[in-house]
Symmetry: C3
Subunit: 344 residues, 3 copies
């Protein structure tokens, strides 16, 4: 429960209306009830405000007049403000210091650390203050984990990795498994190339459930500060991801790819190996990046959905596009009309 | 070992031939041996029956005459009957009540529950009768799991989730990890939006290995009764899936998508966020759904395979389709022939 | 630390230069320092050798003259030789025999086996010599694991599976979960078909983090000797994969597909069910194989990347390809020029 005035004291913004009003929850416009604090992130939903029962609203300053009579917090970015208020209402779970008797710990840990039942921590592991190692996690020999980082249940971190401060690793994450490197014998058999590099995660990195980040072959795999990876993502060996890049679920990044800072990579996108993506690139969902991208912008390569019948009819031509193009060229050569090919 | 008569007494159907014949196993037509019960789910395999050594066959009633002399169980849906017989021959593993001494349990559990070694169950967890919590599973504070549900080894369920009755969660499943929600600062840094919703699974839900279902941001993520999810599927926050929908491996569903009842979603399909899919929709494998689907039917958007050479030749034109279409328009404008564009 | 002469004594090859030179590490050409052994796998990097500080180089014999004055190991396949040297420098972690007191073991194991904390091994499990079962792994009843195989932390192996010798299973791997098999009732509800088959892995198989291999329905799922699977791959029930086939991350193989020997399957590729792929087939990344492939070769079906604007412009025509083709046909019928359609 916070009064609007308390929120503004902590988070900034300007109050219009009654600063003594108390709110107990944040909620979206369309379901907010009395006692809730709603937010209007996009002006196109302004018409919904009339029916909204929320006790107060987070809005941009230009709406002050239009919403006169409501209790408002005015701020340039209501969605960002909502995020910060939601953090106040939903603080992360408290650290409960101590090592559970069913954990197996072979390193010396700070007293502030929490280690859950079934967790195992090998030799020469260095944990910062307030680190939480969830139930049944494994942390391999020589790994370092920075202050305030939390591993939820069933996370596996291999040996000699580095994880920064204030990171969140969700259940099932695997950090530092061997990269996929083999040399081929003439017989066709594959000879394993030992993966001697590490994984190095920056600070404030969040990694979603069952995502995997492989260790490097000779050098390291490096994930920059503030990177956010969703669930079930594969990051191959020697990949480098710049700070504040965000990647949606089921994306895959092949070996030695370099992704810039502040990129946004869509779900199920694929990034081929040994290429570079510039800073501030947006890759749409379900898109393959098979060549380097050197300029910021939005890049797409996915397919429209059709009814199955239309798909059969239209996509049968994909195998014959070259013939079709040749036929058009032929027609042009025998046409009397002006030639438009130069524009193609 | 069951006699045909016993099977029909339990499962219905009509015997033609000798009801005293005993069968010990179900098997496909082409590999069935003496003592086996085979099934003919599709009339096109009728010619194989002559060589089939099975002691009895499950077939549709119309085949009674054609297969006179064989021992038959006649039923309208042989494949469904086969499934039920297979369940009789292969009952689920028995529950072995008790909490393993290497489990860490902080809630009061019914005596009928089985908790494996290394499992951890936090405070305020409510388990129904005959629940099985496999080795090294984790069940977070406040979660409820209904009667008869089984978690195989290494499943992670976060706090405050609800799992129905008779569900099966395979190894590596993660239920209730944080949804992927962030607001962006001007600097490009991402501010975490706490995920305060839950995951609510209905009854008879089966979830395949390493599949992840994220908790909602403000509302819940809801999976209906009888839904079946294959392995390595990502279900993002606030998704809703209607009852008896089935989804094949590696599919991904983005945030707040609503999928109807009795849908069938193919492997590696992608469903974008904030859209709706009607009941009884079939989405083909490897297809992206980026817009809502309002009518039942089969929808497809995947690519034909070609030899690499043909692919280079044909798909190089994909970047120039607009130019090609323009050239065709140009030709049409200068052609004397009847104009066919109206049909396009 | 090895002298070149020692390396050649163990691994073959011919020395040019000083065999007494000692190297302590392998490194790529562009970052190698004094004391390192670099390798030149591709002649196109020859120009980099001049600046390379490595103490010695692995090269093909034809470069002997061009690199006179450097210390060389001459071998037909420098990359393969590099792999073997890297193995010498980075031997696999030693087995530390013994069962951790926090493991739950219900079978009799050889004294040479290592079982980590939190691991659980059910009844009737047979482990070969020097097997390593990592922390929090689970091995189900009746499973057999061959000599020298290593399971990293948090691997789940269901009952009655067979894993060969010298395999490596990375964290989060799930072997033997139920295949995805259901029969449909008229109501739309799905009836589970018990999965009574096994998973059988050959020798020298490596399986990447969080990859899943489902058990067969009636028959087995079979992975041949020397197969290498990357992370987050789904192998459905009754799939068969021939020896030395390699598959990159996030690929998915649907039920009963048969993949030949020595195939290379790209990342995020999809293989539909009930089809066959011949030996020595290469499938490009992000490609769907929906029909059988009967001949060796490279096959592709992925999409070019475009700026979002170009994509909108070009790909809007994909829904109208049939109309476009029809319009071209129409133009041809009314054209006086020679008809080129026969070449299409």
């Amino acid at each position: 429960m916070f009064r609007l005035q308390e929120l503004v004291d902590r988070l900034g913004g300007v109050i219009a209306g009654d600063g003594a009003v108390a709110v107990a929850r944040v909620a979206p416009l369309d379901t907010a009830k009395e006692g809730d604090l709603a937010f209007l992130a996009n002006r196109k939903y302004l018409s919904q405000v009339g029916e909204c029962a929320a006790s107060a609203l987070i809005v941009t300053p230009d709406l002050r007049e239009a919403l006169a009579g409501r209790n408002l917090i005015l701020t340039a970015d209501p969605y960002l403000y909502f995020a910060r208020v939601a953090q106040l209402f939903n603080p992360p779970p408290a650290v409960r210091p101590g090592v559970h008797p069913l954990a197996a710990v072979a390193s010396t840990l700070p007293a502030s650390v929490q280690v859950g039942p079934g967790a195992s921590i090998e030799e020469d592991v260095v944990l910062g203050e307030d680190v939480v190692i969830g139930p049944n996690c494994h942390v391999g020999r020589g790994t370092r984990i920075g202050r305030g980082t939390r591993l939820y249940a069933n996370v596996s971190v291999y040996h000699d990795c580095v994880i920064g401060e204030d990171c969140i690793l969700h259940s099932g994450v695997v950090i530092g498994a061997d990269g996929f490197g083999f040399a081929r014998e003439k017989s066709g058999a594959w000879v394993k190339i030992p993966q001697a590099g590490r994984v190095v995660l920056g600070n404030d990195v969040e990694i979603g459930a069952n995502t995997t980040v492989d260790r490097g072959a000779l050098d390291d795999t490096v994930i920059g500060d503030g990177v956010k990876l969703d669930n079930l993502i594969q990051i191959a060996h020697n990949v480098r991801i710049g700070e504040h890049t965000i990647m949606a679920g089921c994306a895959g990044v092949a070996g030695s790819a370099r992704i810039g800072a502040r990129c946004m990579i869509g779900g199920q996108a694929g990034i081929s190996g040994h290429l570079s993506i510039a800073d501030d690139v947006v890759v749409s969902a379900w898109t393959l990046v098979a060549k380097s991208i050197t300029k910021p912008g939005v890049y797409t390569g996915n397919l429209p959905l059709q009814t199955h019948g239309d798909w059969v009819k239209n996509f049968s031509h994909l195998r014959h596009l070259d013939a079709l193009a040749r036929r058009v060229r032929q027609l042009e050569q025998h046409s009397d009309g002006p030639d438009d090919r130069s524009q193609g």
